[in-house]
Symmetry: C3
Subunit: 655 residues, 3 copies
């Protein structure tokens, strides 16, 4: 458990660097990420490298005892570079090349840019790869930010055709897989196939899904060129990439295969404003963020690289990029930091050391203000560092935190739902989040894992939105001892986004013991009452399915008597989109069946188990009380928690 920070020496007078480094050390910072946007300073003219400033910056940090996370600067190719070959630029859906003047303007499919990316990565790796201060590498920055994965350049379309040929072999196979007999969409050759944009009405969903898959693979390939270079020239250093929250444009599991550590950028307030939360939630959580947004990402990225993960960018104050940018309440930056450690972070690195007074992100707070005074985020980081130091060996954390409950998260399934929502507000990320949040609200720890993960150790496995049919996964679930929860649309589609063989839930049908015979999306305001066998009631919105039992038993029914939730042995199926109470009922009953202990927590309080420690987090605006058991020992905080308060308890090892 270490703290880090993102630092831009090139943006400040060199005279400040040593003082900055000293103050970082005093604050308890250990890691400093640098240089991910510095290409124009590293290579101001073609082939002319200016290393001296960067050498000096690294030496200054090194001299202070700080560790450096070095970056490849490929997210911001400089003006002279893109002018040298404009085919490097990504092309938008209307056919316009992206223009220079912000960032991420390159096309992942440009072979020309891939060569430049390799050239600069090699240059940086050769110079600093074996420097004793360099502890880790970050490739590029936030792949996919600003919706930049999908490019419609000639290079991308050419590469797409080759990708299709490799996937399908013959164009007839493609025509069959895509169902191109529909609407006379048949192709005679791969050369006829363009990117699925500009059509009169929606392009074939299979076409769109394959373009998404292809584009994701291009990110993987682009990244691998850099990781290969870094491994060769910087042995022993961890390689990471900083993923961005709620981004689904490419498969993060795939990119992670080439990384040692997964890192993510955690902006709880920005995510609360810009994503799917209701207006009431956006208001209520404006200054704390929804308590489960950071945790959701922590648990997701913990599932990427064998449990190794960091927060690379932790929100330290107001940001600039959300629709609205409120300020975190005092104490919440500390709470976020501890929340990350509770969920197993190795490092929490704040973005950024000092707020820039100029350019696009001048309204993004740092640990320090532009006038070099410490800001609230800096004060709270200092507090965390001190607390970490004080607690020391008393914190018996597991090296790799694991839970008894897993959610299976599948990027292709997310893409499928985005391409074919069927109702304007069917959001696979949201339903996954709602299931996760319900588990967290009852005090359960959750692992978010890929469909290929080993599931044998879990007692409960939840697939909130696994639209993609997956016979291998179904087999492993059937063989496991876990209670398995399937959300609506599970297994509904095959790999080409056509109906699963048989009918939904396809390969999951034997597990679920039912067949889905009809689905409907529900406009706002349509609330179907759900009556539970135990007398509880909940409400169903967004989506509903008519299912025919093939062995499953109804646990809850809609008002017309049709089953809303069914159980088939260890398998549970939700034939709709539950509200919070619906998830609570369903997952509560599943937890009981799985032998998991749940808790009745105060509103907006969360608990996280890590090793033999329990972290109690109060995200509410009221003081609350919570203690785990009489035998537990409080390491930090107390039974009473103020708003934004934290307590750490040491449990008996057997607890």
């Amino acid at each position: 458990m270490e703290l880090g920070v993102c630092y831009y020496p090139e943006q400040w007078p060199q005279a400040w660097w040593e003082d900055d480094a000293q103050r970082m050390v005093q604050m308890g910072i250990r890691y400093v990420r640098i240089a991910e946007f510095a290409w124009s300073r590293i290579e101001p003219r073609p082939g002319h490298f200016e290393w001296s400033w960067l050498d000096q910056a690294i030496e200054t940090l090194h001299a202070a005892g700080l560790k450096v996370v070095m970056c490849t600067p490929t997210a911001t190719p400089p003006k002279w570079l893109v002018d040298s070959d404009p085919t490097m630029l990504a092309v938008d859906a209307s056919g316009q090349p992206r223009k220079f003047g912000s960032r991420r303007h390159y096309c992942f499919s440009s072979q020309s840019y891939r060569a430049q990316s390799a050239r600069i990565s090699l240059a940086v790796a050769e110079r600093y790869g074996k420097h004793p201060a360099v502890a880790a590498w970050q490739t590029d920055n936030e792949y996919g930010c600003h919706l930049t994965v999908l490019s419609y350049s000639d290079a991308a379309q050419q590469a797409f055709r080759a990708w299709l040929q490799k996937r399908y072999g013959t164009v007839d196979a493609l025509n069959t897989a895509w169902g191109n007999v529909f609407w006379s969409q048949e192709y005679a050759s791969f050369d006829e196939i363009d990117a699925p944009v500009g059509t009169v009405t929606e392009a074939n969903p299979a076409h769109r899904l394959d373009y998404r898959r292809f584009a994701s693979d291009e990110v993987v390939a682009f990244n691998r060129i850099q990781t290969d270079i870094l491994r060769a020239h910087s042995p022993g250093r961890d390689i990471t990439h900083n993923f961005m929250g709620f981004f689904t444009e490419f498969d993060h599991h795939d990119v992670s295969q080439d990384l040692d550590v997964a890192t993510h950028d955690s902006y709880p307030l920005g995510f609360t404003q810009d994503f799917f939360l209701s207006p009431d939630e956006k208001r209520r959580y404006a200054r704390t963020g929804h308590p489960d947004i950071p945790a959701f990402h922590h648990d997701l990225y913990r599932g990427m690289c064998k449990g190794r993960w960091w927060v690379m960018e932790q929100q330290p104050g107001p940001v600039n990029w959300a629709q609205w940018n409120p300020a975190p309440l005092d104490g919440i930056v500390r709470l976020w930091t501890w929340q990350a450690f509770a969920h197993g972070a190795e490092v929490v690195s704040y973005f950024r050391w000092r707020q820039a007074p100029f350019a696009q992100e001048q309204m993004h707070a740092g640990l320090n203000r532009p006038d070099r005074t410490i800001d609230q985020g800096g004060l709270e980081a200092t507090q965390v560092a001190q607390e970490l130091k004080d607690l020391g060996a008393n914190m018996p954390l597991a090296p790799m935190r694991t839970a008894q409950t897993a959610i299976v998260f599948d990027y292709p399934s997310i893409w499928m739902a985005q391409i074919q929502p069927q109702g304007a507000d069917f959001n696979a990320m949201e339903i996954t989040f709602r299931a996760y949040s319900a588990l967290r609200a009852m005090g359960l720890d959750v692992d978010m894992v890929s469909s290929k993960a080993d599931l044998s150790a879990y007692r409960m496995v939840v697939l909130p939105a696994h639209m993609r049919e997956d016979a291998h996964l179904a087999k492993r679930l059937a063989e496991s001892q876990a209670q398995v929860v399937l959300g609506p649309r599970s297994g509904a589609k095959n790999q080409a986004l056509a109906f699963a063989a048989g009918m939904p839930p396809g390969a999951f049908a034997p597990l679920a013991g039912l067949q889905v015979q009809r689905v409907e999306s529900l406009p706002p305001g349509v609330h179907d009452l759900v009556q539970w066998a135990n007398g509880a009631t909940s409400s169903n919105t967004h989506w509903r399915e008519d299912v025919a039992s093939q062995g499953a038993t109804a646990l809850a029914s809609f008002a017309d008597g049709k089953p809303a939730v069914l159980r088939n042995g260890n398998s549970w199926y939700s034939a709709g989109w539950p509200d919070a109470e619906g998830w609570n009922q369903l997952l509560g009953q599943v937890a009981q069946a799985a032998g998991l202990v749940t808790h009745t927590l105060p509103t907006d309080v969360r608990i996280t188990r890590n090793g033999d420690c329990l972290f109690v987090q109060n995200f509410s605006s009221s003081p609350v009380e919570f203690s785990p058991s009489n035998s537990a020992h409080c390491l930090l905080g107390a039974r009473e928690l103020a708003p934004q308060g934290l307590a750490i308890w040491k449990l008996q090892a057997s607890a």
Copy 2:
């Protein structure tokens, strides 16, 4: 009264075809529409025709005793065709050619595509025109779907100039008609005139209206090429086109001049979600559709081809294309089917036989599920077929249903209001629908007719939104015995969308006995109270007019004493946009004056008279009771109707 179905043999294994045909017959299906999207299978390569599969499909249907509705496949030109001459593609408002990969990507004005359309139509007509199974032809599919009537190709702009020259003769005449002296918009030659897009602020409304008219005429011309071929090569068969509901991009009356039968595609749930209904109505009617949406279209298309009309595509279950796609309640597909027969349909044909498991419409239900099992829609079609058989000769329906009340529906008036709404929510289709719905809620049958129709037999004629001045119509109305109801903006504009001569209501002024001196559109929340002479009150929204009486008498007044509704002999004028109660008051008083018997029906119950039968339809969620008179005899159902219930009564011939 027959049932039909849309079938795509090319999408299924040939081994299934015979079973499909047998099951259609068992279900009571008589007509099978085929091949409207099959071009890539009929002509997979340029000039290479593959007839054998289609021959076989038709033979299979024929052998089972089914009738075929054959189609021209021009809605989906295949890839090789558009690649051979990309000028066939429509061009969007930003100047981009539409891309291949969905449907309707062609430009109506492309002479090149017209030649191809004629070539393939001729080929199909020559091969199947005299086949004994072929009972009818459908041209293309849903002209205008996905907003495809307006194209901005060079071909379209060239044709527009020629069209203008023909309409105006000289450019001076055009300048005068359009008022081009305004803003120095004068042209020196027809060659200078482009399509009205891309201007800084709105283009001249006259310019826009003429482009709409031109584009509509292009659809008519395109269609006529096909109907001429089909008439020549398939004598004795009905020719139709399947119009789509709520579409107004071209003049359906004009296209119908070249058809024998008008058919339309009826999707009550999709239309309820995607059109102008309020959020509350979208919620309330989510699973039944608004009861008057199907009827509105039935009555509209009955007015196209001398009373001959079909439903070509009847929604059988959830669809895929609306913002939200709920499932019809059990029984409502049966009710929709009977509602169509009540309104005079010759055939109700379901879309589609079996849900496709792939491509764009895989989430669109059919009568059967993708796994070949029968779906709810199939069960209800079976029930209707049995009921039709059971009723047999007991149903004394008129060969061509007619009503005593007419609504005049005028496409150019709709275009005028779309071009010049004057208030963001002034929707001429909506006000027409609201007037229609008020008439239906009081139990009146309605004919929807064009402005050229013979109106002499009606007792009541309503023009809810006839913005276009029409001296000929005014004359016929004045000469008729009918009570005439004029909505706001009636006759306000001349043929060039300029002020009608004199002032509004222009040619209708003598009839209405008033002059409109000022109009205003009203922002949301502005509700003007309307006080009726009989003591009732209603509310006015959206639109209001200040009128000076020239003989008319106020029947209702706004709070400031200005007239809201006026009567001048047999003519009634609404100086605003009434709410439901306002329409009920106005049309109720008119009906009384016309000697029409109205009914107080339970909420969401509708009655339809056809010949000597009365069809009672319960669209509400409650059981209701209704019977027409003591002397009526119930042929089907009963006085008590469950939700989605239907009763058919035989009235005394004199009733």
Copy 3:
């Protein structure tokens, strides 16, 4: 105090002109604006001028004793002209040239169009510059209407580079000012810099601000070419331009430097519907307009040309261009006209004499209807003219009205907030308007002045949204005796839209006695309670700042105890966005400190002092009573005012 009207002889039969002129005189009209859109009639073919009709029109007006406001017709270059050189056309953000067919399609940066503009201006000036009827000139028409200031043509981008070179000297200076080290945005040459459009995410705010500045300067330069010609060829005539309300695309103060009289176009109902008012305000003020919208503009434009200003276009009835276009209540056109005179207008000129029956503005009312009958606006203009005549010398108005309270209005600050709102609803124009409205609601008169104005005579100076740091202004404010009110974000940015030196409020910090340490934008629904020292409470929304006092004292605090409003001697600072009660508290206390007398006015009643007259205006829907003092003498109206009522009181000179 004279009335005027806008007239288009070219749109009417010549036979009507003389009658029109006579009726104008009878109505009390003195000024007639003509010819601003008449280029295609003045020069129907290249180089071929048709003067006779215009000669005749002017003679007709002259003969009737009317004065002419002549215009350059450059807002609508005719078709033959733009076809002769399409580089005259503006280019939109997607790179498409604007198309002919409406107005304002030219590019301000086109040297080719500038030459044409000079040529036609010279031709008109030479012909009519010394005509005795010509009293004034208007250049072009409504610069910026339809968002036409920003063009992305090659000409504009070339000119931008030259403009940047002039501003910064070296590209290194530009890189430093813009902070281009951020995201490797550094340029090696001015030639590399494009317009800030089409980037992946937002372009550098400094880049965007400079493009806004550049584009504004292009308008100034374009206008100056015309004013130079007019001054040379039409000596002794006033030159004006008609600015449009709420437009901020260019700096109106800068353009006004070249004018003798500022005029503006006042459309209270259209502005109420189309700008930032709440849905409830749009409903409430639908038919009167918000009472402070006209006054805000009157006071703004009075500050442009040494107090000389007109209303060039006064809304006379419903218009056509707002989202909704309600009709003014009877009496409100009279009230608007008197309101303008109360605020110091020399002339109020109605748009337009007669409603056009054709083209884009056919739904825009005039003083007369299309059928030549007088409309309500004409009746009210007649009434005003009679009242002016009756009052005659009894109206002791000041030649140039001045107030004791000033608002500083700064276009570059508005641009800064538009580029960097930081919260989706932070609107600098709105907060300025809310402050203005609060002052007006307490009966204070307000001057709106530029940041360069002489502030020495004011007792109270309010800077609601002066984001731009301004050391010179700060110095003058510090030296003045005035109470100074600073809104949130005051002085937060330097000239390149980077952080002000030190921290916000930058140069205003010594005045305010505080430092802003953190800011936040607040999503809808977040309302922070503000507790005032005097016991009052108000609510804060939209924006909030954490400030550290450097001498200032808190007058009001947020619920967490942090200061909401601070006072430092004569300086007052709002650390947030107050609601109406918050503004009322703050500005009421400031007024008291300034020794200004405030009034408790009935809701929606406004009073305006001009010379020794007090104008009482009732914009509410209720009758009210108000009288200034026992010694005042009522010149018009009475103590009791009906809705839309007006009273004019003569105060004692010392009052």
